[in-house]
């Protein structure tokens, strides 16, 4: 039987080990930094410490994402809180020399920058702080305390009411109230239920979930175990992209560790509550982010969606009642349980509570992973936290919501980021990709790029998405070549409307968004490319 004392012991042990050391060097070992050479860097630090005989006073460890991905690989020195960017193994001796002295200015990124100060970290509270491969590190950061609290002191109904109170909405894109979803699954009288974590983060330009899974995998497992307790499920699946091998590996290790600690398994913490988690590897299909397609894929089939209702809560995985949330949603749960739903509801806006993690990318200075309270404006995010534009070019648009989201122009940057406001601009919150586009980029071409994406990712089941996206892409390409007519533009707009309203799933329904939003805000760019001909001959005819 695990008790609070066990958890406190582990916490004490970890913090003692840390406090013994004067300096703790955190090297980011999330995928981005690894690609930039952080494993070599980690080794260089270790060797340098050993050769200097500083093993007793210096601790070096690999941690999850520190945040400033543009400055990969990133290193943090604790307890001082110094952040270094773009560190090379050659820089190691200099950094070691500087410990307890003046930081190395040429590598330092000030912690006073809005990039750090303007963020509010809930989901990412442990990212860049703990070693994602050490369960003890997670426990030391109050990990699994929420699970303990839930199964030792709360009824399933109390857990759900806390989630309802928090106002948490699904972070996968649609923003469906999480508590409501949990209630529906809890209420179905079925014996066998499943909890599924959607980690099929397919939006190009989005890496929130990857980062959370690589930096703090236990957090997601804990959220799922709590969800399983609340809705009455004893089995969970994490459906993760094959493109994220590191996240998969860390999750696999984390599950194993959690099982050893009885935080997962037949009898969690010695109680009668059992919850198993299995990993399922995706195989490269964007549509599998749609919940019914995801279910089809976990069942080993083609990832094609089916019409809802019945919703997965009624009939989901293997025909059973299934709760599906995405990574970030589960990652919020432990904090909500530990700090209370009211605390969470005090952050954010009227209808969008808490924080949101964004992957800031594109032509912005501070490319990276950020977490901000809901309701911050796009301008604040891009110009303060993001540090403004990279290079001399002006901002033309910011693309939110992934390939089926929309392009928001400069003039709308004061829009607060919440579900409803983004939707009113013809975009979506999506899972949190935010790509800044400068004025060197043709907006018509960007929309064409997204259409190409939708064409190649359409599953082909329903007619409007399968043929409609292809025809939209053709029309769009024709306009982009300067061969489009006014009539073509009208057809494109009407076709967008058709695909939006008649497609079977969210992918098709939102596929026209990039075209519609760019037509709404950048229509003149399209019109400038039209030809004067009334009806232009099809390709090959004009020649």
């Amino acid at each position: 039987m695990v008790t609070l004392d066990h958890l406190s012991d582990i916490r004490r042990k970890v913090s003692e080990a840390e406090e013994q050391r004067n300096h703790r060097i955190h090297v980011c070992v999330a995928a981005g930094c690894i690609a930039a050479g952080s494993r070599k860097l980690l080794r260089a630090f270790q060797e340098e410490i050993t050769s200097r005989g500083l093993n007793d006073s210096c601790l070096v460890k690999g941690v999850g994402c520190i945040g400033p991905c543009a400055g990969s690989p990133a290193v943090a020195i604790e307890p001082e809180g110094i952040v270094y960017c773009s560190v090379k193994p050659e820089d190691v001796p200099e950094i070691m020399d500087s410990l307890a002295k003046q930081p190395v200015a040429r590598l330092q990124m000030s912690r006073d920058l809005p990039f750090f100060t303007r963020q509010k970290k809930i989901v990412l509270e442990n990212s860049g702080r703990i070693d994602p491969e050490q369960i003890d590190d997670y426990i030391a950061a109050k990990g699994y305390h929420a699970l303990y609290k839930v199964i030792s002191t709360m009824s399933p109904a109390e857990v759900i009411s806390e989630v309802i109170k928090s106002g948490l909405r699904g972070r996968g894109g649609a923003g469906y109230p999480t508590g409501l979803k949990w209630t529906t699954v809890a209420k179905t009288g079925q014996q066998q239920k499943y909890v599924v974590c959607n980690a099929d983060e397919g939006d190009p330009g989005a890496f929130m979930d990857r980062s959370v899974l690589e930096s703090d995998p236990h957090r997601v497992l804990e959220g799922m175990a709590i969800a399983g307790y609340a809705v009455g499920a004893n089995k969970g699946y994490i459906y993760i992209r094959a493109e994220y091998p590191l996240a998969y590996e860390r999750l696999r290790k984390a599950i194993k560790q959690a099982e050893e600690y009885t935080f997962l398994g037949q009898s969690i913490m010695g109680t009668t509550y059992g919850f198993h988690v299995e990993l399922r590897l995706g195989a490269g299909a964007y549509v599998c982010g749609e919940e019914t397609a995801l279910i089809a894929s976990i069942e080993g089939g083609r990832g094609t969606p089916r019409p809802r209702p019945p919703y997965p809560a009624e009939r989901g995985l293997f025909g059973k009642s299934t709760l599906i949330n995405n990574v970030e949603t589960y990652a919020n749960i432990s904090s909500i349980i530990r700090n209370g739903g009211d605390w969470f509801a005090s952050i954010g806006t009227q209808n969008s509570k808490g924080t949101k993690v964004f992957a800031l990318a594109g032509n912005v200075k501070n490319v990276g992973l950020i977490e901000v309270p809901m309701g911050e404006t796009l301008r604040e995010i891009i110009y303060e936290i993001g540090g403004g534009m990279e290079g001399q070019n002006k901002l033309k648009a910011v693309q939110t919501g992934g390939p089926t989201g929309g392009c928001i122009p400069e003039s709308e940057l004061d829009t607060p980021v919440d579900y409803e406001s983004l939707a009113s601009l013809g975009s979506i919150m999506g899972s949190g990709g935010m790509v800044v586009i400068d004025d060197s980029v043709s907006i018509v071409d960007i929309a064409r790029y997204f259409m190409e994406f939708s064409v190649s990712e359409s599953c082909g089941k329903c007619v409007p998405c399968r043929v409609g996206t292809t025809q939209m892409h053709e029309l769009h390409a024709k306009i982009n070549r300067g061969e489009g007519t006014k009539r073509d533009l009208e057809l494109l707009e009407e076709l967008c409307e058709v695909v939006k309203h008649t497609s079977l799933c969210g992918l098709g329904q939102s596929a026209p968004n990039p075209v519609l939003s760019t037509l709404r805000f950048f229509r003149s760019e399209y019109e400038a490319q039209l030809t004067d001909h009334e009806v232009l001959a099809a390709e090959g005819v004009a020649k």
């Binding site: 009806v535 001959a537 090959g540 005819v541």
Partner: protein, 177 residues
């Protein structure tokens, strides 16, 4: 009363639509009381006149000559009617599209020829990369699908158009009929 000027044009088609038009039989005589045929493969007039009220087009647009012709026709016609599946959809002539021009010529002028296979003369109209329906090249005002459209449907559509009305031919013809 001034007679309506009617033209009929034959692009890439089998002439079946014209035959179907002729199948209106004696009704054509009645029609001629209101209509003057100013250009047609059925009459001997060499150049397409100006100010034509109604032109019926049979056939798809398949060559550079068709493009020139149809543009001229459009410029001089008030109401342009695509008559039959070739004009409306591309139909049989467009069946070469998936294969491309080269393979089509190869097939027609070499593979299927027993004696003296020859490349078509350069003086012949050049095939377009893709066969297209008429409305892909010029604006079409009214479509009459069918392969060929039934004589009754053509007659009805024409009498309505002559009276200055847009006919409703729903359920009177269909693709392939």
């Amino acid at each position: 009363m001034k007679k309506i000027k009617l033209a009929t044009v034959w692009l890439d088609g089998c002439s079946g639509c014209h035959m179907s038009f002729l199948d209106t039989d004696e009704r054509i005589l009645g029609l001629l009381e209101h209509v003057e045929i100013v250009y047609s493969p059925l009459v001997d007039i060499k150049t397409f006149p100006e100010n034509v009220d109604i032109t019926l087009i049979e056939g798809s647009v398949s060559t550079n000559e068709d493009v020139v012709k149809i543009k001229k026709v459009r410029a001089h016609t008030k109401t342009l009617v695509a008559l039959g599946d070739c004009a409306v959809t591309g139909n049989v002539p467009a069946m070469r599209n998936p294969f491309g021009v080269e393979a089509t010529i190869d097939r027609a002028y070499f593979h299927l020829v027993q004696h003296n296979p020859l490349t078509p003369s350069e003086y012949l109209p050049r095939l377009l990369d893709k066969v297209v329906p008429v409305h892909d090249v010029v604006k079409v005002d009214f479509h009459v699908p069918g392969c060929p459209p039934p004589a009754d449907t053509i007659y009805y559509a024409l009498t309505e158009l002559v009276r200055g009305r847009m006919p409703d031919i729903k359920l009177m013809t269909r693709f392939g009929k």
